[in-house]
């Protein structure tokens, strides 16, 4: 399984220091998340699209990820327009769609896509171990970072185990069908995976103990210095975030567009 497909690349975004990318992403995401109305979310979606275009990612996997996110949002579109009170636009049977409901759903859609795109552009373009190091250098608690890393690391191990077992089943002429044999075989597969992962985690822990582990993860690598490029990027991201804040505040207090 390839979980780092966006991390390989040589674009401007890829060449930035991961720490800078993380700290410039944070204010942007917070503002987008708390913004109301349509103005700020649409502008931030545009900003995210610009970031994505800088990262020069492959379109297909990108669209696939967006599709996954928007499938979730689709459910909101089925419910929200009919459950928010306001001016009615049309009715289907007992359900009345309101314009407030629709704009609420639209806001959420814009925000979600903006955040996902910005995260893909700035976080998914960091190879996993650079990301882990960046988090540790940014003083994120060690336990959280380890938890995150082990999740990532063992998703691929689990997936490997799963494919090996599944192949072994196929080698013995297993063909999935709608019958008890199939269900039972899949249940065995899942059962073995659970047992294996438990055992695996135990063994890893024991191996760590054998190498003197006492609850601390030492860090071997250090990042090089921040370059001018990083600095410029950071400042522009802060500038964008500041503009969004101004707009949002203006919107709120003085009813600007």
């Amino acid at each position: 399984m390839h979980l780092e497909e966006f991390a390989e690349g040589k674009s401007f975004i890829h060449s930035l220091d991961p720490r800078i990318k993380l700290i410039s992403l944070f204010p942007f995401i917070v503002i987008v998340a708390i913004a109301r109305g349509l103005t700020v979310p649409s502008i931030s979606l545009m900003a995210s699209a610009i970031l994505i275009s800088f990262a020069r990612l492959h379109m297909r996997p990108l669209l696939e990820r967006l599709l996954a996110v928007n499938l979730f949002i689709l459910f909101l579109w089925l419910i929200l327009p009919f459950s928010v009170e306001g001016r009615s636009i049309f009715t289907i049977g007992p359900l009345t769609a309101t314009s407030e409901g629709i704009s609420y759903a639209l806001t959420i859609t814009l925000k979600a896509n903006a955040i996902v795109l910005a995260t893909i552009a700035l976080v998914a373009t960091i190879p996993i171990f650079r990301l882990v190091h960046a988090l540790r250098h940014l003083k994120v608690p060690e336990k959280l970072v380890s938890l995150f890393f082990f999740c990532y690391r063992y998703i691929s191990v689990l997936h490997e185990d799963y494919s090996a077992l599944h192949n072994a089943m196929k080698m013995r002429a297993f063909k999935p069908a709608t019958n008890v044999h199939t269900y039972r075989s899949y249940a065995y597969l899942v059962g073995v995976l659970v047992l294996k992962s438990y055992e695996h985690s135990e063994k890893v822990y024991q191996a760590m103990l054998c190498r003197g582990f006492r609850g601390k993860f030492p860090l071997l690598d250090h990042f090089t210095h921040i370059t001018r490029k990083d600095f410029i990027f950071f400042v522009s991201m802060i500038f964008v975030a500041a503009c969004l804040v101004t707009l949002e505040v203006g919107n709120h207090f003085w009813g600007l567009p």
Partner: protein, 213 residues
């Protein structure tokens, strides 16, 4: 150095693995352990490392009876244990970090750790791997890296569980050479009689929960 007396061990709800096991390992001995599958070679190593606790009997290592987790912390610093499955031993993002993990845990500085990484990787011909992700290597490569992580701790004794399984001839040769020449003393569990014969002073047979000489 390692003295085991009247050891009795069974996995919970399973049949007895060891009954009244006695074993003596003296300083600078190089010994091999052979035995059929499931005879308890790996379990034996786990007991020495304190990863499993015996139901009865006494384990004395470096002239001290070892019982608690704390006792074994000290043992693990001085005895290097190579697991059979490399996936169990490697977990760091890069090979270099995996090799440095042990030394850093032992309180070495970054500079020292780096020196150890470059020395060990040279020794085993792993120079070109150090910056790669350890979990993306092939099985044989992973086993070599595991060997490196254990050697990096600079142990006094090595416990090697099937060290040559999955290695190609060249890598086997490298490991062999190292163990023959300047390596620490060791206990090796293996099926490979030829490999053991060229390396060890003594070969023990583990069978039916007893060690035969």
């Amino acid at each position: 150095m390692i003295k085991i007396q009247k050891l009795r061990f069974a996995y919970p709800g399973d049949k007895l693995v060891f009954n009244d096991l006695d074993f003596l390992y003296e300083k600078e001995q190089k010994i091999g352990i052979v035995g059929p599958n499931g005879s308890g070679k790996t379990t034996f190593f786990y007991l020495i490392m304190g990863l499993l606790k015996p139901q009865e009997g006494e384990i004395e290592i470096f002239n001290k009876v070892r019982q608690t987790e704390k006792d074994f912390e000290d043992v693990r610093r001085k005895i290097g244990f190579l697991f059979q499955n490399p996936d169990h031993q490697l977990f760091c993002p890069t090979v270099a970090e995996d090799i440095a993990f042990g030394p850093l845990n032992l309180g070495k500085t970054h500079k020292e750790a780096r020196e150890i990484v470059s020395r060990i990787s040279k020794l085993l011909g792993l120079e070109k791997y150090v910056d790669r992700a350890s979990y993306k290597l092939s099985w044989g490569e992973k086993r070599l890296v595991c060997m490196a992580t254990v050697l990096a701790m600079e142990p006094e004794v090595l416990l090697l569980d099937e060290p040559t399984a999955g290695l190609d001839e060249r890598s086997t040769h490298k490991v062999l050479n190292y163990l023959k020449q300047d390596g620490p003393s060791f206990i090796i569990a293996s099926h490979d009689m030829n490999f053991l014969k060229t390396l060890t002073d003594k070969i023990y047979l583990l069978n039916g929960g007893k060690i035969l000489y």
